[in-house]
Symmetry: C2
Subunit: 370 residues, 2 copies
């Protein structure tokens, strides 16, 4: 059984699962907990943190009381992998309930200790999506528990800002999205609409363009490129003709996106076609962020104001000589020099938990003043 210890006072907070120290209290003397859930397309992660109900400063390292992982709880994950088989609504709800129960049990806690829950989930594009998932949570928890459902991008932003909803997050994995909040609570998003609707900076978008370039070189519509040999070798195919069968045999977006490292390798070897694909992707991703920054005026009136840009996802974390993330930042900073890139130090489920804590604190402050 994992319990929690609390240490204090450092703003540079890191995730840490604390063991031993059986059943101690929250820093404020209460035993209340908060659950943060990351409901992704392939798995569901739930973490349990103390509710720190009265402390303004987060302890360092941030105590994770319990953590549990389960299968997909996402009933209609639009924008990432819509073509894979999703659980039915009931199965998804059951998964969600189980993963929360396990995280609570590992924390040595139970349902009665829960103060708030925040679920970050992909595919929340409309208030009706949010309402449907809130209804699931309402069936599980008593009415005094505060419940929040957010797009997974909001939880990702919070994982970079330690719960504060300010700035912009850019996620570029299989799919891509940018999502931002102004200090006054206004929010805006760009991209995140899936490949049919042109998320060309996503891992899927980059890889689909690379596959297209191979086909075009093969049938005489485009220049020759190293991508041909690189991709055929990676897929153990002998001719570009066979790419058609390969592509449609299993239309999962993640399977296509897995070819991004081959594109990066070709760009590193100075292949012009691959380089253009990555430069275009970086500009497309930067454009998403810039659209959000502009609409929310995150850069202040003079355009030079400072704001965080949280960078998340495999496309941005490539850690290669040809670094897509760096190109994106360069492109954003050309227009907005105050853009400050952040790589999150905690996982999205912790971001969701910190988000719930901040919502709770905000509500209690508002109640105090009203």
């Amino acid at each position: 059984m994992n319990n929690y210890g609390v240490s204090n006072g450092d703003s540079n907070v890191h995730e840490k699962q604390v063991e031993g120290n059986d059943h101690c209290e929250n820093g404020d003397g209460s035993n209340g907990v908060i659950l943060g859930v990351d409901g992704g397309a392939t798995s569901t992660v739930c973490v349990c943190i103390p509710s720190f109900s009265s402390s303004k400063t987060l302890p360092y390292p941030l105590p994770i009381l319990g953590r549990a992982v389960s299968g997909c709880s996402n009933h209609n994950s639009v924008g990432v992998t819509v073509h894979i088989s999703y659980p039915t609504e009931n199965a998804a709800r059951d998964t969600l309930e189980e993963v929360m129960a396990e995280a609570l049990s590992k924390s040595g806690s139970d349902w009665s200790a829960v103060h708030a829950v925040c679920l970050g989930v992909s595919g929340v594009n409309h208030p009706t999506d949010q309402e449907r998932i809130l209804n699931w949570l309402r069936e599980i928890f008593p009415s005094h528990v505060k419940l929040y459902v957010q797009n997974d991008a909001v939880a990702a932003l919070a994982s970079g800002t330690m719960g504060k909803l300010h700035g912009c997050v850019l996620i570029a994995g299989t799919g891509c999205i940018s999502y931002g909040f102004a200090e006054d609570g206004r929010e805006a998003r760009a991209s995140g609409a899936g490949p049919v609707l042109g998320d060309w900076g996503s891992g899927y978008g980059i890889a689909a363009k690379a596959l297209t370039a191979v086909i075009r070189a093969h049938d005489g519509r485009g220049p020759q490129t190293m991508l041909t040999n690189k991709i055929l070798k990676a897929l153990s195919l002998s001719s570009p003709d066979e790419l058609i069968g390969w592509t449609y045999a299993d239309p999962s977006w993640a399977r296509i996106a897995a070819l991004v490292p081959e594109v990066v390798s070709c760009a590193e070897a100075c292949d012009q076609v691959a380089t253009k694909i990555l430069v275009d992707a970086a500009q497309d991703l930067a454009l998403s962020v810039k659209a959000v920054v502009q609409r929310l005026q995150l850069c202040g009136e003079d355009g030079n104001g400072s704001f965080p840009v949280v960078m998340v996802g495999g496309v941005l974390e490539a850690n290669r000589t040809w670094d897509i993330g760096k190109e994106v930042v360069k492109c954003i900073q050309q227009q907005f020099p105050g853009a400050h890139p952040i790589t999150p130090q905690v996982e999205p489920a912790v971001g969701a938990a910190l988000l719930a804590r901040n919502f709770l604190m905000k509500e209690s402050t508002e109640n105090y003043h009203s």
Copy 2:
């Protein structure tokens, strides 16, 4: 029961189903027939024509002895609508057998009269696809019957050239492909690889770009466009946000492609975004044809030689003020002034039947000379 009459001597041949005139003979005195099958993504059409085994000139009007229509016989229609439910291999084979039996019965003929069969089917991208479908036909027909399986584009070319395999066909409906044959039998294709692999001139490609433009205008990444109101109205949606749910609720490519008329309307009203989408699509389609023409040297050594370009599919037959087909032809003729556009006067199944006739004639000529 439909039977056939034969008339003679006009090279400008049209399809016509002749009635009355019970059970007459072929022009050459035999009762042999040829079956042409168009195995599309949504239906299977079979026509039965006389085999005209010794006559070089096709009669006018071309006698269609019988015609039958059935459901999809296409086991893996790649490149058009891969996301819809396909019949199992057995069900597809049964459908094919039934539609041929019905066409024969309507012709007052039977299996023993069949000289040759040609099946034009989408999704034949590789010799293994061809071999698999040939095996189905071999189980149905005795060994002396000549059997041919071709990509549906080849049957479409034949429907424009009345069976002669020379020139290039461009199909642009939900998907797109160009396919060509040189006089010496060399063949080449371009595009036809489906939306993931960049068939941007297809109906799907045009509509997906239009939907993307609406999303980009909405989230601040692109200019405002008339497409927004036009498309939302056509789909009875109230906000661009709802397009995401609409798009992925049913990922059939044909459903997306059905929005092409909205894009054409906006271009006719001088919307710049819509116009650019159509101009790009026309250039992309022309590029497919030009790649094939170049590889096969259909234009002769001086580049000015004459060759047919058979134009097929909803995108090219729009019959609107903003005429995509005309733009494509203009674009091809800028490079190859000898390109001669043809709109087929007979359906693809008849093209398949004429193809079988030409293959038969060619084989008998070769046997005669050997």
